[in-house]
């Protein structure tokens, strides 16, 4: 049942629409990594089974000619965003969002909600501020202020169903693009102002245009799904939750630049993304959406899914291409850009997952629609992963230019346990930490860069007063030291030495001149390294040194870690006035260093204590103090 | 007009001045064995001067993996481009006449390059047994 041409595509869509109109209730079970980890698949299975048992007309596929009257369509979707309180079950059209759903609650959902239309109060989201239960996404602050473009289908379409994607308007953008001249397609992308979502922010349209202008008999389109930034998972969600959108974006690009071969490079740490994308590619091939004469046009295009091997540096475009070629992922100098000489030395367009996911909307809705969102130089919306010590964590998408404050305190709901906000880290290991004075910064490519951080792929890690900036910088350097490919000297040796210097600081052995040494070495690594990884490796150090210098000075001059994190210069003690003798810290202590009976003040044996901080982490009464 | 290096064995008295001159000018500090020209006694009062023949179809050039042996079109000599040599040393055994020497310490081959067209050995030969015609 191929979709050989545009007519057949429309026929299929209208049949599916009809099927959709029949559906009385839609139950969307989130199967993003977070929800899946909390048991979403079991919930889904139970839902289907329980509904069948109850005799409800349940469908797991959109059947265009279903006989059921008022069917209930149960689907597994991609990430619905609010990972922290998963598994999520979203019921439409009533907009009921059940949170923390367990298999044991399924019976209730089927019996009460699906069969009877009742809302189960205790499964609803509880607003931490006033403890009120909120019914649906429309009421929950986390979802307010968001605008979904790249994540549009993520959490609404059934992740592994081509039909579901087509029903939601999928491939209509491709149909439109195929009727356009390749040049018009590029012009449209250029006009939209779309910039690469992978971090660099290079204008996508310009990239496509220079690929077309480059000489070469063959061109490649590569989708970068090697999302290596720790603390970022939006590409993962898109690949898992809306794989067809990425494919559609890539086909449109292939049409625009004249390519017949594409690759999607996915990290191996995302097995489900690999699985779903592979399935999506296969389904597209079977249905004539990939292969020869796509939708009856002259376009031939194939996509292969390549798995990464676990190397952060492979997110760098030239290293990624080397990796697909089957080699060690060492970057090469980009003096000749990869749009001219990339994969197999042929002109290559490489864009990130989110960038490709934006393309169908741009073609469908028009460049003006996209450009009207966001700021002047950073148009559109951007997906972020809001994580760390923030109340609401999860996947969000907001227009560019949204203030950090609105993200952290609006959508994010502020800091956990009401602790003071300290910083927000953006841009992953290449980015920087922005303190309180940057909270009113509009988040876009240029504003972040100016503030000494960067957009990166969109991780946003919120930190409270118990986060040590020296430790955070050391953490990133340790990460980069392990992930450096080791090819060029400044990155291989320089990052090692930077880490050694920070380690010295965190042990309380820092000398006053070390801060200058760090600053100077950091700057030289930035200008001397071969690839983006090395060039941006010192950013976390330099930005924290700039914005939190007093904290560094405390480590050097007073041999003290103000946040109580750096083990060698921190002592943990229990404040007898605050300790309630609840035994929680005693149980949590890995080396068994805490003694004390129930309802009596506990004491930490300093000889046994390894300063891991577990006690402070679990204490509800703030009784563990550091000095 | 390219000149030809010729040896005239009947003039050679075996005085080895050429060897000394070569080893001096090529910086091998008078180590005779490293000289690019060698004198062999081949009979009663008969000597033979042996140095690179600058073959037209040179085996050394053929085996070099990096084109580090290049003919100087002006002098006709095959010269070593040390910057291009990776030091594999194959040129030494490849020479059927034994005129190529690979210097293990320096990691480069050593051979006669006709001193850039003005061979020192010719200048120093007291008996006109070496000539550039």
């Amino acid at each position: 049942m191929g979709i050989a041409n545009l007519k057949k595509l429309e026929a299929r869509r209208s049949a599916l629409h009809k099927a959709h109109e029949n559906v009385k209730t839609q139950v969307r079970v989130c199967s993003g990594t977070g929800c899946a980890a909390l048991g979403a698949f079991e919930v889904y299975d139970a839902l289907v089974e329980e509904s069948k048992k109850a005799g409800l007309p349940v469908q797991v596929e959109l059947a265009p000619c279903g006989k059921d009257k008022d069917p209930i369509f149960v689907s597994l979707t991609g990430c619905q965003g609010f990972c922290q309180i998963g598994p999520l079950v979203h019921i439409l059209p009533e907009d009921i969002l059940y949170t923390g759903v367990k298999v044991s609650s399924v019976k209730d959902i089927v019996g009460k909600t699906l069969a009877d239309g009742q809302v189960i109060d205790k499964l609803l989201y509880k607003n931490p501020e006033d403890k009120k239960r909120l019914k649906g996404r429309a009421d929950i602050p986390f979802y307010k202020g968001q605008e979904l473009v790249a994540l549009e289908g993520c959490g609404s379409v059934a992740a592994d169903s081509l039909d579901s994607y087509i029903a939601s308007g999928g491939f209509s953008s491709l149909a439109k693009a195929l009727k356009m001249d390749p040049d018009q397609v590029i012009a449209e992308v250029e006009k939209s102002g779309l910039r690469g979502r992978g971090g660099g922010g290079f204008p996508t349209g310009r990239k496509w245009r220079s690929c077309v202008n480059a000489t070469g008999d063959e061109r490649f389109v590569i989708c970068n799904g090697d999302e290596g930034d720790p603390g970022a998972f939006m590409d993962c969600c898109i690949m898992e939750g809306d794989p067809y959108r990425v494919i559609e974006g890539m086909i449109i690009c292939a049409h625009a630049v004249g390519s017949s071969t594409g690759f999607i490079y996915v990290r191996h740490e995302y097995p489900r993304a690999v699985e779903r994308l592979s399935l999506a590619v296969k389904t597209c091939e079977e249905n004539g959406l990939l292969g020869t004469k796509i939708l009856g046009s002259d376009l031939n295009f194939d996509i292969s899914v390549a798995r990464g091997g676990g190397a952060f540096v492979c997110g760098e475009s030239t290293a990624l291409m080397r990796s697909i070629e089957g080699s060690v992922g060492e970057p090469r100098a980009k003096y000749v850009r990869s749009v001219q000489r990339g994969f197999r030395d042929k002109p290559t367009v490489l864009n990130n997952v989110e960038t490709f996911a934006c393309v169908p909307s741009i073609i469908n809705e028009g460049s003006d629609w996209f450009a009207s969102r966001g700021t002047e130089k950073s148009s559109g919306t951007k997906a972020f992963c809001l994580v760390g010590k923030v109340v609401n964590t999860g996947l969000i998408e907001v227009p560019m230019g949204t203030k950090l404050r609105d993200v952290v305190f609006g959508i994010g709901g502020g800091i956990i346990d009401g602790r003071p906000f300290k910083a927000v880290q953006t841009g992953g290991p290449s980015g920087g930490c922005l303190g309180e004075n940057y909270l009113d910064l509009p988040v876009d490519f240029d504003a972040l860069a100016e503030a000494g951080s960067m957009m990166g792929s969109g991780g946003m890690i919120v930190m409270d007063d118990r986060t040590c900036m020296v430790d955070v910088a050391k953490y990133f350097l340790n990460f980069l030291m392990e992930e450096s490919c080791g090819k060029c000297v400044p990155c291989r040796e320089g990052v090692y030495q930077l880490h050694a210097l920070l380690d010295k600081l965190s042990r309380g052995e820092g000398e006053p001149q070390d801060l200058e040494k760090i600053q100077r070495l950091g700057k030289e690594i930035q200008v001397s390294s071969l690839c983006g990884l090395g060039k941006s490796a010192p950013n976390p150090v330099l930005s924290t040194l700039k914005n939190f210098r007093e904290e560094y000075e405390a480590h050097v001059n007073d041999k003290r870690c103000p946040a109580g994190v750096c083990r060698d210069i921190t002592t943990f003690t229990i404040d007898p006035d605050k300790c309630t003798g609840c035994l929680v810290c005693k149980k949590a202590c890995p080396p068994d260093a805490i003694s004390g009976e129930k309802k009596q003040v506990h004491v930490i044996d300093q000889d046994k204590c390894t300063q891991c901080g577990a006690c402070r982490l679990v204490c509800k009464f703030d009784a563990v103090v550091t000095s | 007009m390219q000149k030809t290096y010729v040896v005239i064995p009947r003039n050679c008295t075996g005085c080895r001045t050429c060897e000394l001159a070569c080893s001096m000018i090529k910086g091998t500090e008078g180590v005779f064995a490293r000289s690019r020209i060698n004198i062999y006694k081949v009979g009663e009062e008969r000597y033979m001067q042996m140095t690179c023949l600058q073959c037209v179809e040179a085996a050394c050039v053929k085996v070099c993996p990096t084109q580090a042996l290049v003919r100087n079109e002006l002098t006709g000599a095959i010269e070593v481009d040390e910057d291009r040599c990776v030091g594999c040393g194959l040129c030494e055994p490849a020479c059927p006449f034994g005129h190529m020497h690979f210097d293990l310490d320096e990691g480069v081959p050593v051979k006669c390059d006709l001193c850039g067209g003005d061979p020192t050995c010719v200048k120093f030969c007291p008996h006109r047994a070496l000539e550039l015609k």
Binding site: V489, E493, E524 | V63, T66, C88, E92, G98
Partner: protein
């Protein structure tokens, strides 16, 4: 086209690198991982130069001379402050890694900016990971050694750190190593490199070593020269030929 290096106007060809033009004009740019016969990788970063252009509005950039292709009107400085700082840092870092390497110390002194001492990584190694040995081995078609691991712990070694099957004992890796890190031990009859032992082919006249047996087999199989080329040492070849000439002469 014309470019400017340290104020001098120099003609250059399309497709050439800055380093190639500089070398051709005897302008010194230090290098460690560059070799004329091998592909450049830009690993050592000591050939860093500062470039700008009259159309760039004062913007300058540091690039590696070995890889950067020339373009019309490019203005290059081989020893600006920024270049010396960058090169100095790179050499300082290498000094910490290979404190015993004379080449590195000499280059650092020449650059004139040894100012920062970093914690020494003293594993007795002189390897600076320039990968010249690997590339030379590849050029020979042997592929006996390669990089192992990544990051700061990256090493160059044979597969599985053991006796490299493909190694023929030619010694190119040792000859090309800029710091003398690769050890090759020769006796009259044997050679040892990468912990692999080779027997020399002895000259059938004098018994002096000619080449390793593996190298001879490789040469016969791959280099299209008769097998009897490899049986005699060069000195004996010369002697034999001399006597032959004498017979012809008389």
């Amino acid at each position: 086209m014309y470019i400017y290096i340290d104020g001098k106007k120099i003609s250059a060809n399309d497709g050439e690198t800055i380093l190639a033009v500089a070398n051709r004009n005897n302008i010194y740019i230090p290098t460690l991982c560059h070799h004329e016969a091998l592909d450049d990788v830009g690993a050592c970063r000591v050939c860093m130069v500062e470039i700008t252009h009259k159309d760039w509005g004062g913007w300058t950039n540091l690039v590696t001379a070995c890889l950067y292709p020339v373009e019309e009107g490019l203005v290059i400085s081989t020893s600006s402050d920024a270049v010396r700082r960058s090169r100095g840092t790179t050499l300082d870092l290498l000094m910490a890694r290979c404190p015993t390497s004379d080449v590195i110390r000499w280059m650092a002194e020449e650059n004139g900016e040894i100012s920062v001492r970093y914690e020494q990584v003293d594993d007795g190694s002189k390897c600076i990971m320039c990968s010249l040995c690997v590339r030379a081995c590849e050029k020979m078609g042997c592929n006996a050694i390669g990089t192992v691991g990544r990051g700061h712990d990256k090493k160059i070694a044979p597969p599985f750190f053991e006796n490299p099957e493909n190694c023929i004992g030619c010694g190119a890796c040792a000859a090309i190593c800029p710091t003398g890190h690769i050890e090759m031990k020769d006796t009259r009859t044997t050679r040892e490199i990468w912990e692999k032992k080779f027997d020399f082919v002895a000259c059938e006249v004098c018994g002096e070593p000619v080449m390793t047996e593996e190298y001879r087999d490789y040469a016969i199989a791959n280099r299209d020269l008769p097998a009897d080329y490899y049986t005699t040492c060069s000195a004996c070849k010369k002697k034999k030929l001399a006597s032959h000439f004498d017979k012809v002469g008389s």
